[in-house]
Each structure stands twice: as C-alpha cells, then as structure tokens.
Symmetry: C2
C-alpha cells in the first residue's frame, strides 16, 4: 500500500502562502505592509525613479515539467524579470509572484519551485512583498512583477545608440538554446519510460543545460554600466541576440553591423550545433534564453568600459558597430573582402 502524495489542492491558500513565507529572508525596513493584506505597501527609495517589469512563464511554452526541475522553474521566473531590470541599469528591490496552479501539482513540486524563487530573491536582495495564488484547469503559469530603482542618469534605454557606437555583448551566447535542445532530446529518448534520464546528455554539455535551467541575470553588469554611464543603449537577450540587435536599431533609429566571427558562441553549444548540422551562429543568435546583455558604447569611452568589465567580473566582447542606415546585418569575411546579409529573426508571429 502506497501513501498518496499531497497535491496543492489538499491545502488552503493560506497554507500555501505560509510555505512561501517560511522560505523568505526577513522583510526589509522599507516594507510597511507585506504579504497578507489587500495590497503590499513599500516606502519608495529616495531620489530614485522606479523601474517596473512583468514577465510570465507558461508551462508548455516557456518550460516543460518533464525536464525542468521545479526549483529551476521558480528560479527562471524571477531571473527573466531581473534580466529586464539589469538591462535598464537598475537595481531590483521588490517582487510580486502570481501563480496559477493545476490542482494536481504535487505539494513537493510547489515547495521546491517557490524555494528556487526564494533562493534567487535572497541572493539578489529582492523582497517578495505580495502576490496571488489561483487554481487553473490548464497549464501552470508563473507571472512575476519586479520593481527596481535607478537614478535618472543611470538608466539604459533602448533608444540611446547613435551611429558610430560600438556594440558589445556580455558572456557567451547559444548555451541556453543548446541546453534546451539537449533536454528535449533526453525527454524524447526517454518518452514512454517515465521521467527522462538525462544523465548521458548532461555529462556531454552540462554547462549548457545549467545555463538554460538556471540563468544568471547580469544584475551587477547592468548596474555598473548605468552608474558609470558607460553604455548608450542596452537590452537583454531574452529573445536572442538577433532580436536584441533589431530592438536597439529600431528604438535608436540606427543600423547595426555585427561581425559574424566575433560573436562569442559558447564552446559546448558550438560543438553541439556543429554536430547536429546547424549553423552555430544562426542557432546561437536566434535561440534566446541566454539573458546576457547587448549594449552600445561610444568609442571614446572604451577605457570606462574596461573598468566596468573588471568590476563586474564579466567578459565583454565587441561584436559590431552602429551605422546611420537602418539595416541590421551580419558581416562575414571572405576572400577579398566582406559580405553583408540581413540578420533574420528566429520567429516573428505571435505563437
């Protein structure tokens, strides 16, 4: 006889909230009223603007419970929002967590998921101040709102680039896309046999899988770029490097040339793409989920950028330049010169 395991529908909403509250760091002094009232009340930070962002993860679209452990889902839901805050040059401060849960969600999965959220919140000095819990007859959905703060002069909008600015990207790209592909492959191979055993693929490219499952938002880099006024425009790579380049071009009314050979593709990811007959550059640039930052810098501020890179401890790579036309292109070196081709996006339609 087996004991049936608990699900969230065996608990009251208050009991589920209590599980979350037990996972949180002590409330900060600026939190006047926290979880449990009609709304949360906070004291604004002095002499700061407020930065607001919301992002949702939907099961079956943004994550798959067959291969994303619950704690990684909770981590990701917060990380994608922190990445948006980082891309504005701001510091995160408060979060709201809105969960739509299937009634048969195991209570252990709920607890691990909120623990993953809470650990990243604590590490990032973000306080969960409120939220919402509801049942859903459909896929799980996690919607997170983050409130950050920034001085006006340290904001990094998308619209500040101008012709001649150099284009940089942090870290490496492509790892998350390769990680997701590896996880899908593992799930496929294991289909019909219960939970996938991803042991084989994990050892082959565990770095990529970690990058996909538990992305690290570039909070420190974003703040330093803002504080030092080192960048003119900045976006995160949530939808891929190609999309990010187009966003800056459109918002700043410039063109972007990216030197194809300089794009810092993750080594493991490149090996995986190469072995699967994919164009590594296109796969890495359109794959998304990397949560690196793409930003533009006035050439005369290179020294300032060097200081920021050292303080942030983040590798930065110059990959291109902004132009006065509005084309966004890959530049490839060839015998006798270069050729430019339009940088296509991975997908365009709402789906």
């Amino acid at each position: 006889m087996t004991v049936p395991s608990s699900t969230v529908s065996d608990r009251t909403e208050a009991e589920l909230v209590a599980i979350i509250e037990a996972q949180l760091a002590p409330p900060p002094a600026w939190l006047t009223i926290g979880i449990g009232d009609d709304a949360a009340v906070v004291e604004p930070a002095r002499n700061r603007l407020e930065v607001l962002t919301v992002d949702a993860l939907v099961e079956g679209v943004h994550f798959d419970r067959r291969f994303s452990p619950p704690d990684a889902i909770g981590h990701r839901a917060l990380a994608v929002n922190l990445s948006d805050i980082a891309a504005m040059g701001a510091e995160p401060r408060a979060a709201l967590l809105s969960l739509a849960l299937p009634g048969d969600l195991p209570l252990d999965d709920f607890t691990e998921m909120t623990a993953g959220f809470a650990r990243l919140a604590t590490a990032s000095r973000v306080s969960l101040v409120g939220g919402n819990l509801t049942h859903t007859p459909g896929p799980m959905m996690i919607d997170v709102t983050v409130v950050g703060t920034a001085k006006r002069r340290q904001l990094l909008p998308r619209s500040g680039a101008r012709a001649g600015d150099e284009v940089y990207v942090s870290g490496t790209v492509g790892a998350a896309a390769a990680g997701l592909a590896l996880l899908k492959q593992g799930a496929l191979a294991a289909s019909g046999s219960g939970r996938p055993s991803a042991g084989g693929v994990r050892s082959a490219a565990s770095g990529c899988i970690d990058r996909y499952l538990r992305p690290t938002p570039r909070l420190r880099l974003g703040m330093l770029l803002g504080r030092n006024r080192a960048a003119t425009a900045c976006v995160d790579l949530s939808d891929g490097l190609a999309d990010a380049a187009h966003q800056i071009a459109r918002s700043s009314d410039v063109g972007v040339i990216v030197d194809a050979e300089t794009v810092p593709i993750d080594d493991e990811a490149r090996a995986w793409f190469d072995s699967h007959a994919a164009d590594a550059l296109v796969a890495a640039a359109t794959g998304g989920d990397d949560y690196e930052l793409l930003f533009t810098v006035r050439p005369r501020l290179r020294n300032r950028l060097r200081t920021v890179a050292a303080q942030a401890g983040t590798p930065l790579t110059r990959i291109g330049v902004c132009t006065s036309d509005r084309a966004v292109v890959w530049r490839r070196r060839q015998a006798g010169g270069t050729s430019d081709e339009p940088m296509s996006l991975g997908y365009r339609h709402f789906k």
Copy 2:
C-alpha cells in the same frame, strides 16, 4: 464562401501591442519610459508610500467566455485590482498587463477585451505603463499589477480594528453572485445552440448581471475613508462578506458579530435567491465578486463617516460590531432574544 476571421496568431506581438497602445489615454508626465523598453520607468509620487497589488483572472475559473463579453473580461481584470487599492485607502496610478492568450482567440475579442481594460483605466486615471504578451496552449489568463500611492496616515490595513468598533459595508451584496448564477443558467439553457441567448434572464435581473460583469471598484470611498481617517480597518469583498469579516477578525485579533437582518442584500439578488430555495443571506455573504468594502469605525467617529458617505455618494450600512473574543458570528433575532451562529465560509480549500 466566408472570409475566415483573424486570430491573435495572425499578428506579431508588436502589432498586438500597437492595438493596445491606440486605446490608451495620453501618457502622464510622471511616465519616464513607457511600453516598449525592457521595463517601464516612472517617477514616484512625492511623499507617498507605494501600494502594490496583483490579481489574475483565469478562463474557466474567474470568467467564462461563453457568457462574459470580451470587454467585460478586460474591465474585470483591472477592476479587481483597483478594488484592492481602494481597500488600502490608496489611489491607483500605474498598471502592468500580462496576457496569456490562446492562439485561436479572435482578434476582435482581443481588441474588445483590451478596450474594456483601457476604458476603465482612463476613467480611473490609471496609466498602463507596461506588460507582457505570451501564447498559451491552455485557458486565457489575464494578470494585472497595479501600483498605487497613499500617505502613511491614510492607509487602511486589515489589522486596525479593535473591540467596540462598528462594522460597515458599502453598497449592497449578493448581486454579483446572483448575476453569475443567472448567466450560468442562460448558458445552460442555450447549450448546444451556439452562443447563449440570455435575453430572458437579462430582463429579469439585468442589474445583477451588470454587477457581475462590470464591477465598479469603490475607489472614491476608499480614498475618502483613508484621507479622513474614518476607518480603522478595511478589506474588499472579493471573496464575499463572510470571508472579509474573517479576514478583519484574524488580522486585528478581534471577533465580529454581524446582525443578519441588517446586511444590505441587493433586492433583485434576494428575489432570485428566494425563488431558487437558497438562503439569501448565506448566498449573498459567501458569493463574492461584489467588490464592495467592509470596514470598521470607532463609534465616536460616526459623524466623520457621515461626511465621507455624503462625499463618496455611496450608501453605507452598519451591520455589526467588533468584540474582544475571536468568534465571527451571525446574530439572528428571535422571539425572546437573539441567537448567534458561526459564520461559515463558502469554500476553504485551494481549488
């Protein structure tokens, strides 16, 4: 030959955002960066605390597309959040809209839904400053975050009631529950024949149906209660009067006696409950969705409350009193005296 109607999946995310932007009032001066960047940036209101709330509507749980018109869904998604802001004594200011949409959602329904949201936002002087759009393979979900402001002294927490305070409710209760029941009945009667024709039930109790579909949050009343320091504790009736009474009792560590005969049940709702052999009081108190305010007042401040009621233009009814024990009860008058019975909640488990 019929022309197939458009769905949201025929459009890009940018096109859907443009539809929403065209429906909005001009941006306020305090909006530094609006829709279209990684995050929105706002200037905080001076000398005010910030009030944050999030609430989600899930199709099949909080609304039914068979009988909720799209504009009513958009209206409700914002209204339920404004009600939380009102219950804090605060003023709403900015909103974030996070939509998870099925790909086959007709474009017209999308446009009407966001128009319903935008109209209430404009009427309530709330600016939509950002949001998120995603596809979902499941039911539609609308998650709204609202940021409001309040001076510290005008906040209305749940925890301020003490023994001897009188308990008031705004407006009438039960209408939304009756309206929902009527709509369900209409949908049932019409099942199998396409869209329900609710003409018959609408004429019988159209007020209840409107109260359910397009609730009016008590923003002005909440602000006036806060500004005049007329109430000691306040909650909204999103989960019903009985739940609200329990919330204040638990948060304030008091008991609550509600005089059953004084509860202002909506006339049409009472007639409907009576004709369906339901206990009108229990049905009205546990039905939820009324978005009235339940609040407590020191007896010596009755005059102040009268001024607030006149300014707000909202009927207020004294329905009970706070006690020093922790019981939450209905008091019913009987031959020779009164009898108290525990006030049960409509539901307790997460489902």
